[in-house]
């Protein structure tokens, strides 16, 4: 991978994945994460 290609997916564990947000995530991002942001 070129250093200028940014990862869209990083695996933390089998159950925890870091992945690029898509537009379809906007509602859940607002409802579950941003409105109830802990830190």
């Amino acid at each position: 991978m070129s250093p200028f290609e940014l990862a869209t997916r990083l695996v933390v564990t089998d159950n925890i994945i870091l992945e690029e947000l898509q537009e379809e995530h906007a509602a859940i991002l607002f409802d579950s994460v941003d409105r109830n942001r802990a830190h």
Binding site: F4, L10, L18, L21, A26, R37, A38
Partner: protein
């Protein structure tokens, strides 16, 4: 963010910034459910540095989730993107965020007075840094 449209605009803006290699956001998905986000703000390729941001939904706190996710992202930033320095700013009274930073090995560098307008008031921010050489990598095997 005040409404869903703000979240949508945020995602679209992040897609543009990613395409320009300026910064990127990754959602934290736990068993397929979006739990929070991790972000790099302003990737500075000339000086091989960036700053980290993170936030988590209330129900996903106190499980060590952010520590594990940040550690994975830091491995990526240092070992694959070959960055030298990662900074982190957070409100001085944001104890949960500060504990995450400190557990990851970030060092406090100072306080920025009235640096951010939050909750209808100016708040101080603490500045942390983590250098590639300071990142406590976990040994495998």
């Amino acid at each position: 963010m005040q409404q869903v449209d703000d979240s949508l605009q945020f995602i679209r803006r992040q897609q543009q910034l990613r395409a320009q290699r300026q910064e990127f956001v990754l959602g934290i998905f736990v068993q397929g459910e979006l739990a929070g986000c991790l972000a790099t703000h302003l990737l500075d390729w000339s000086h091989r540095k960036t700053t980290l941001g993170y936030w988590l939904g209330q129900e996903f706190t106190k499980q060590g989730l952010m520590d594990r996710c940040c550690r994975r992202l830091l491995e990526y930033l240092f070992d694959e993107l070959r960055l030298h320095r990662v900074g982190l700013h957070c409100a001085t009274d944001n104890r949960p965020s500060r504990r995450v930073a400190e557990r990851l090995g970030f060092c406090e560098e100072g306080i920025l007075r009235d640096h951010e307008w939050l909750y209808n008031r100016f708040v101080d921010q603490v500045v942390y840094r983590l250098l590639d050489s300071e990142f406590p990598r976990e040994r495998s095997g």
